[in-house]
Symmetry: C2
Subunit: 435 residues, 2 copies
């Protein structure tokens, strides 16, 4: 139905030419006729801003490369694609793009988590688009479904495996019984983890994505820094085995939920989580990502796919580019971000989940009764108890609770820690979702 | 970011007030402030076109109902929501809507499968929108991801469980060992199947959805009537048991794939399919739907959720309504359908899949060799063979093939049917995907 309007090409600037950028360049250059037919006008790559324009990059005309990204952005292009990552110079370049009337496609979750509201406002003032499907969960269409498909519904929970590195590591620990550091080393060898893995394994990356998903789902402003964050570095093979014995797996989850104690607050958090093996997210393997959405009317939805990688991320970027270019051809832009609500983030103390706690106990009469009475005192209901003997003949107690406030649970555990006549060694605890 | 523009409300007409329509009406009426904030203007339900305006419908002001849907559609509304179903009067009403400058949200897969191109063209001529997220897979966002998120990629396969009724029936047959007719009766009792279940169990409904998905995925025009279609009425508990013994489940799948023998043709078909238990679609239970998408760059994606029901379908309708209303507020409309390619549908003889064939054979030397030689003659490679004794002491042979053209397989089976000295009873055969 779309007829190519040959009048004026849509001019595109690409910022960054690494793993993702080189794939975006390939897709921009390899099928110009298909791209033109889908957009309704030819799409022309005007230049690629890089730090080292003279580096060898096979398959791309060297004349396209420039060190002066700012000049490229201000050269009258229609769309700026930013795949540099990090806060600066990305932020200044995007603000310059908006000031020059260009729309933006970005894959930069860290930037959006830190300065999203400023960027969205700048785009809206300029009457241009900012799209960022690639910023969360790679190629999985999740931004558009939240921003448009579910915009007539009330989302109550978004819960996802949004960091492929940690999912790969936990999967390796589960399947091959590797320790955390062995699994991390393997992830680094395979290129799934960076030399400095902090952003992934400490949950910063997942927290940035959680803030973006929560902002969209709940029509409010949530920054990455506001997200409660616990990483996976302390998870042991024993934790995983102990979860497995209960029919659970351990995943690093980003969780955003409306169902707090107060109507006007949301709980947004990233932490290792026990999930029942039957939960749709439990079977997400390796470097895959998945996002689970629960809403009042649509019910339970799940989106699954590759969470990272050059080609998948480039696919998401290209979808946004075509959407923006189509808008340009029709002389319009998409809807602005919907953040009309002013929800606060509930403190982690108010989060409501179940917990699984394991501890080594003295194998003598009355110990279980004493521990159970501490749970009762803090009004934390016990769902299941499991006592086993470990290889050294110590009694280990595993307690799964009903849903409780985090604060009550923390108080319970603090009190149990003081009971040195009943317990010995460390108390291990992990949240449980999806029961 | 969006500020409500109080100037002019977005006027909405609703056609139909059954299972879906009554939920749409509820959502239109229950949170006007949220709706206005998301759209950027108030949304006003102007009337509901129904056959029996005097029927009792609690919670909706009786003054809204009218028998004269045509007058309602032509009364200057901005958006017409059509949830009547069927070809007429829905088609004439939508054409009247476009002629009056109204955009359309429809959940009518039968209408789109039969007359989609005419409707898309009429919308484009009028410069208005037609959105139809609810037409395929209920609340699962699949239309928007195909139409926008993946529009910069090359989709190679779309494969889905898009009919909840048949999935419920097959699931019941698998889990509770019911016969087809027993499972159908239970589906009818629970309201999952109609009194006349033909559209579901014979695959017409799935074929309509397959044509819509294939048109979007491959940027071409495919009508529901062009889709090869086989239903589930002949599937027996024995077929399901025999599949299970191989580690497979049987699902009614809609399959659309580019990977035919010719570059400019697509294979679009609906048939019972054996899927390995490890395939993401295999674990889709009950009345849930799921769509699996494979593309050159994004890789393998899956979308899962409730496939039908009043509230889920209404959620999808409301997402489309908000999108269209936002476009109206900004004086624009979304992109037209992208059908710039002229792909044909490959005949079913050219479809390439694996097959599983079971037959009762004479338990005597040389029978397997004779049967295997027929496969070899037609160049159908055998992947696995399994011979068992049934309860009556008959030898049953199960053969799984490698991927082959449908035509070669049909020839093979025709020849084996003539071998009455080697086989007895019926030959059962079923396609295999996702290995």
């Amino acid at each position: 139905m779309i007829e190519v309007n040959g009048d004026r090409p849509i001019k595109v600037a690409l910022l960054g030419c690494g793993n993702v950028g080189s794939q975006v360049a390939r897709l921009l250059l390899e099928s110009p006729d298909d791209l033109a037919a889908r957009v309704g006008a030819p799409v022309q790559l005007m230049g690629i801003g890089v730090r080292h324009p003279d580096a060898e990059r096979p398959g791309i005309d060297p004349v396209l490369f420039t060190k002066d990204s700012e000049a490229l952005v201000r050269s009258g292009v229609d769309v700026v694609i930013e795949v540099i990552g990090g806060i600066e110079p990305a932020k200044s370049l995007l603000l310059a793009a908006f000031a020059s009337g260009a729309s933006v496609v970005t894959a930069n979750k860290a930037l959006l988590a830190a300065h999203g509201q400023e960027l969205y406002a700048a785009a809206e003032r300029a009457g241009v688009d900012i799209y960022f499907e690639a910023a969360v969960a790679g190629a999985i269409p999740i931004i558009r479904p939240l921003r448009e498909s579910l915009v007539g519904d009330e989302i109550t929970t978004v819960m996802g495996i949004v960091n492929g590195t940690t999912n790969f590591i936990l999967d390796k620990m589960t399947t091959d019984h590797l320790s955390f550091s062995e699994a991390l080393a393997e992830a680094q060898e395979l290129g799934y983890a960076e030399a400095d893995p902090t952003a992934d394994v400490e949950g910063y990356d997942a927290a940035a994505k959680a803030s973006i998903l929560a902002s969209l789902a709940f029509h409010t402003e949530i920054a990455g820094a506001d997200v409660h964050r616990e990483g996976i570095t302390t998870i042991t093979v024993e934790d995983i085995e102990s979860a497995r014995a209960q029919g659970f797996v351990i995943k690093l989850l980003a969780v955003a939920t409306l169902s707090g104690d107060r109507e006007d607050s949301v709980s947004v958090r990233v932490h290792p989580t026990m999930l029942p093996e039957s939960h749709p997210l439990a079977s997400v393997r390796g470097a895959y990502n998945a996002v689970f959405v629960e809403s009042r009317n649509a019910g339970r939805l799940m989106f699954l796919g590759p969470g990272a990688g050059g080609s998948p991320t480039a696919s998401a970027v290209m979808g946004d580019l075509v959407t923006i270019a189509r808008n340009r051809v029709r002389g319009t832009h998409g809807p602005a971000m919907s953040t009309y609500r002013r929800y606060g983030i509930a403190p982690i103390e108010d989060a409501r989940t179940s917990y699984y706690i394991t501890m080594q106990v003295k194998d003598e009469p009355g110990v279980l009764a004493r521990i159970a009475s501490v749970f009762a005192k803090h009004e934390v209901s016990i769902l299941a108890v499991r006592q086993t003997m470990d290889d050294e003949g110590h009694a280990r107690l595993g307690i799964m609770t009903h849903v409780a406030r985090d604060a009550e649970f923390t108080d319970t555990v603090s009190e149990i820690r003081t009971m040195t006549s009943a317990i010995s060694g460390r108390i291990r605890l992990i949240r449980v979702e999806g029961r």
